[in-house]
């Protein structure tokens, strides 16, 4: 355990719907060691300063996607953000925008999961007999995987992309980057045969055509999934199918 270097002030947005009318900020001073993440600071606050602070976390290693929050104005994973790298004495932590707040830093991610469900994020195949009694695996080359879909399978459903997207803010019915990326991931998968059903969901009034390439989703994605790329490729696939060209 390295020694303490400095004290940093955390301004955290608090809101308890049972007691408060409006959200408010509360400040806490936290001693910071080298290598300390924002999540460790939040746990320190909860253990030593204020036990009523609520936030989600689980793996503390940027693979589960639970701790997405607005840290100094940009969506980041709390467990993957080093305090000293932020280079400031006051760190403002708030819950992710574009989602309803349940309490303190916890948000309601229902929209993320509902939209994801709508695009049928599973392999759809027509050969029922093979599905029920499989005889062998579906053959895919490494190029089939890497050049088409691998990057988009790394999504951890943290929800930060929907939080950063301006269209998700204005449009309550918009599918969002997660749904559109996963729609593309399944359409581009060489094993999948359900492209028509997914295109019908995505090619609709609140579907992929409402993406105007603000690219904030790709900017905040902690896993490099690049949803903006997937959505533009999805548009290209739809247009090419329309014009009868090969994908």
């Amino acid at each position: 355990m390295s020694k303490e270097i400095m004290e940093v002030t955390f301004r955290i947005q608090r809101f308890d719907p049972a007691k408060d009318r409006y959200p408010y900020f509360r400040e806490y001073r936290v001693p910071v060691r080298r290598g300390m993440t924002v999540l460790e600071a939040l746990i320190y606050i909860k253990e030593n300063l204020d036990a009523t602070l609520s936030f989600r976390y689980s793996c503390r290693s940027a693979v589960c996607g639970s701790c997405g929050m607005l840290i100094n104005g940009v969506q980041r994973l709390a467990c993957a953000t080093q305090i000293l790298e932020l280079n400031t004495d006051v760190i403002e932590v708030a819950p992710m925008p574009n989602y309803p707040v349940i309490k303190d830093l916890i948000v309601d991610l229902t929209r993320l999961f509902e939209t994801h469900r709508k695009v049928k994020p599973f392999l759809i195949r027509k050969d029922i007999k093979e599905q029920e009694e499989p005889t062998k695996e579906y053959y895919q080359t490494w190029k089939d995987i890497v050049d088409r879909i691998l990057q988009f399978t790394y999504c951890i459903k943290c929800g930060m992309c929907l939080s950063a997207c301006p269209t998700v803010g204005y449009d309550k019915e918009y599918l969002g980057p997660v749904a559109l990326t996963q729609a593309f991931r399944y359409i581009a998968d060489t094993r999948d045969e359900g492209a028509n059903e997914r295109i019908k969901v995505v090619d609709s009034p609140h579907g992929c055509w409402n993406c105007h390439f603000a690219a904030s989703c790709s900017e905040v994605c902690p896993k490099g999934v690049d949803p903006a790329l997937a959505i533009q490729l999805l548009k290209k696939v739809i247009i090419k199918r329309k014009l009868g060209l090969k994908i």
Binding site: G73, P97, N98, I149, Q151, H212, A215, D226
Partner: protein, 130 residues
């Protein structure tokens, strides 16, 4: 809606978000203006009204319309190319630190070209004005 606008203006995101916002604002501005321009133009056929109305480049209001149109047009061309799948790179194997290719070098070069063309053409428009 207000929260998204304040998020956009919080100056922490990359340039594509601001370009999107400006694109929208210039678009709305031009739709309003377009209607007025076409209504006025359809009444201009009468020679008597003609002398009163101003021309494109000696009127500052029309100048703002032209500058908005230049920005919207050039940024729009970049958006057309992007949404058809050019300039965004290809899916790769994500290795830390992740570099999102859709906001990578090709896109940034396109944005710099857009900004340079915008400044050159609006400089031409300003010169016409003066």
């Amino acid at each position: 809606m207000i929260r998204s606008i304040s998020q956009i203006l919080s100056k922490r995101y990359m340039i594509e978000k601001y370009l999107h916002f400006l694109h929208r604002i210039t678009g709305i501005y031009m739709v309003v203006f377009l209607y007025m321009h076409v209504i006025l133009a359809s009444f201009r056929i009468d020679k008597a009204i003609w002398c009163i109305l101003n021309t494109a480049f000696s009127n500052p209001v029309m100048l703002s319309f032209v500058v908005a149109a230049i920005f919207h047009g050039i940024n729009g061309l970049r958006l057309i190319l992007t949404e058809l799948g050019y300039m965004v790179g290809k899916p790769t194997l994500p290795i830390f630190p992740y570099k999102a290719s859709s906001i990578g070098r090709q896109q940034k070069v396109a944005i710099i070209i857009v900004l340079i063309l915008f400044f050159i053409l609006s400089a031409i428009a300003f010169i016409e004005f003066i």
